[in-house]
Point group: C2
Chain length 431, copies 2
């Protein structure tokens, strides 16, 4: 346990410092060579990379439509129902976010509009790893579906002689995705950015990934004009604010559910109650032993801190400074304290709102800014699948009035032709 007010400022800073993550020059060099390979040899390069990195034998890239269509035949009723329920909640919450065009006459004869356009072609990357991640498909796929994107490509690595998990395919089916590519890593990101015979070119790629995937997203978004990515990636993290009214077993379970994500996860508990922190600590010991991913969780707990603060208000201040991806509030009148929240990706209010509810099924998106980016970046939302543009329509009369603003400003900025484009119209006989 750290006692915040007894730490010097250096130790305070250290307690809130995230483990350093920096992709070395080797990662960049490796990714640059993969990008060149895919640009030069397309699908062939993807198959070589799959053999090299995933031990893949099958020369298949595209999953046949029938496998997607029939995916539910290979799912338990329970898992199918779970995907249906999660899909329904995520869809409801994201439908609420569908943008509406806006229009206004700023002055008579000067009409301005804000319009929205779905990003036409999007790619969704779902990392591989130790288990399939149907929830990642849902979180991104529902947005693509609601936006009306015309091309949606789902890509995920498949290892060795395994087959793609039916839960991934069923989640894709729910989201209306018909293009599923069995390919992962930096290679498939490059393929989606530039297009190959099997992989449609997309304009924006979403989804988390390892250091190579992240590097590929970064390099390609800087070098392919018009190609964009979702948000900077980083290790997952949770901050729990709890007072003595909270249940230490719940708080411990929440900290551990973050810790099991990866050894680089960071978990923080801030509480104003010394006894509570001790109880949480004991609960962590007890619960961690029972986890299948105990070793990962144990490592993550080593980066983490249980901190005694002076007051719940101080906890909110520290949380705002840290900017957690997930913020859990287990304190008296938690909901009424939401106005103290700043810089959080998603907030979980009260004793019965564990992070795993948002990870899977409450309806909110689980793709969230982490590593301090929650100070400036949004949680993934439907607007990430749209772009905004403006339209103006001006009458001759409107332009006459507006010229009183345009002409002096164009003159002050030394832009003759800007002024001339107005003057020539006002001096014209046509109306």
């Amino acid at each position: 346990m750290l006692v915040w007010n007894e730490l010097d400022s250096q130790a305070q800073q250290k307690a809130l410092t995230r483990p350093a993550v920096s992709a070395g020059a080797e990662v960049q060099a490796a990714v640059e060579s993969i990008i060149s390979m895919v640009k030069a040899r397309g699908d062939e390069a993807l198959l070589e990379l799959a053999a090299q990195f995933d031990g893949r034998i099958s020369p298949r890239l595209c999953v046949p439509t029938i496998e997607i269509e029939q995916s539910e035949l290979n799912l338990s009723n329970e898992l199918k129902a779970a995907i249906d329920q999660a899909y329904s909640n995520i869809r409801k919450f994201h439908e609420l976010q569908l943008p509406k065009p806006k229009q206004l006459e700023t002055q008579p004869g000067v009409s301005c509009e804000l319009r929205y356009q779905a990003i036409d072609a999007v790619g969704i990357y779902v990392p591989g790893g130790s288990a399939p991640l149907p929830s990642s498909v849902l979180m991104q796929g529902v947005c693509a579906q609601l936006s009306g994107a015309t091309t949606v490509v789902l890509a995920t690595p498949v290892k060795g002689s395994e087959t793609i998990h039916p839960a991934i395919l069923y989640a894709a089916k729910k989201c209306g995705i018909t293009t599923v590519i069995e390919s992962g890593g930096a290679g498939i990101i490059a393929a989606m950015a530039v297009g190959t015979p099997s992989v449609p070119k997309v304009s924006k790629v979403f989804g988390p990934g390892n250091a190579y995937v992240t590097m590929a997203k970064q390099l390609l978004s800087q070098s392919v004009p018009g190609f964009a990515i979702d948000m900077p990636a980083g290790p997952s993290e949770v901050l729990v604010i709890a007072d003595k009214t909270a249940n230490p077993a719940f708080a411990a379970a929440d900290l551990l559910s973050q810790a099991e994500h990866g050894a680089d996860s960071q978990v923080l508990l801030l509480s104003d109650d010394r006894t509570f922190i001790k109880e949480v600590s004991a609960e962590i010991e007890r619960q961690i032993a029972l986890l299948s991913r105990a070793d990962i969780a144990q490592k993550a707990m080593e980066n983490s801190a249980l901190i005694l603060v002076e007051s719940v208000d101080q906890a909110f201040e520290l949380s705002s400074e840290y900017g957690p991806e997930h913020l859990i509030l287990q304190c008296k009148d938690a909901y009424s304290k939401l106005d103290k929240v700043k810089n959080a990706g998603s907030v979980f209010v009260g004793d019965y709102t564990p992070e795993s509810a948002g990870d899977y099924a409450s309806g909110t998106n689980h793709v969230l800014p982490t590593y301090g980016y929650s100070k400036t970046y949004s949680s993934l939302n439907l607007m990430d699948f749209f772009r905004t543009y403006t339209v103006q329509t001006i009458s001759k009369q409107g332009l006459t009035e507006l010229s009183k603003a345009i002409l002096p400003l164009a003159q002050a900025e030394g832009l003759d032709a800007h002024a001339n484009a107005v003057a020539i119209r006002l001096n014209s006989g046509r109306s």
Copy 2:
């Protein structure tokens, strides 16, 4: 004149290819050294850089409040009124964009909310160059003001023994900006990203700039956690779609008002009428001679093309492919053709809507995605000054129902602790 359907595909591609812009390794090295300098020596470094790059003698960085307050005393009534009118229109259109929180029960006892938070501290960069750019201050400053950001820093270079232009200060005053820094280039971007004694640290920097500014924005947004930038920068561009009903003098004036921005500007005219294109060409010759920036406009016209297309519909297709920053529609029933528009930053409809209206005063924002980024990036809008986050509040009963989705998904993804965080709550005696 190019005749689209007579070009081979290579020539077609060339006609729509933007001039290459790539900052060399020297720019990156220079910017990296400037960033280190500012990190190490703060204000002192900024003053040295101002002396070196802007020939600045004054050791002043912050403009005293009284100069901002009294700026209008040094402005003509006409320019003051122009700024007032432009401010009013821009403000009205952006007020329309103020976000409203949204809330929904996705299922009984599961409440999900989308909330908005203003980005606390923002920086606005206004480039120097041959003339002051009060319109850049307004476009960004109005957004910062409406968002309620608590820290707003305006930075602009001042050359030699010049003083900062009162139009810049008056525009800042209208937007409620009290921190104006006389400093430009990569150095001030670094100062805003990390903070110095005179320059408050900000979380997001907006505004255009030269290759050094752009490189600084890019490098700092990748290396300072939580620090973000507005959008990729590139040369300005316009595409005009016109048919024989359009006025060739107007179209020529619009092409030139884009061309005078810089030698790297790109201007394109697409028309289905050969005679019209010839008339526009003659008008360009006539009008260009009268411009004070004729040499710049002339150079830009060399990168540009007047293209004869088969039909107005084909023009819309090519425009969508190109993705212009500014799109001007001077054709029959232009407004009713808006549904054919894709990938444009801002659209100008009809004979009396020149681009300069949007550049200064119609109310729309003139900070727009260019260089093909209008396929994925939005025009600058109020949401760029906010971030979105989510909140969920679940009752015990709600969690019980939701667990039917959470538990099978957590199990499928091999995440025990995620399941346990739910199970421990449902098995608890408290309610």
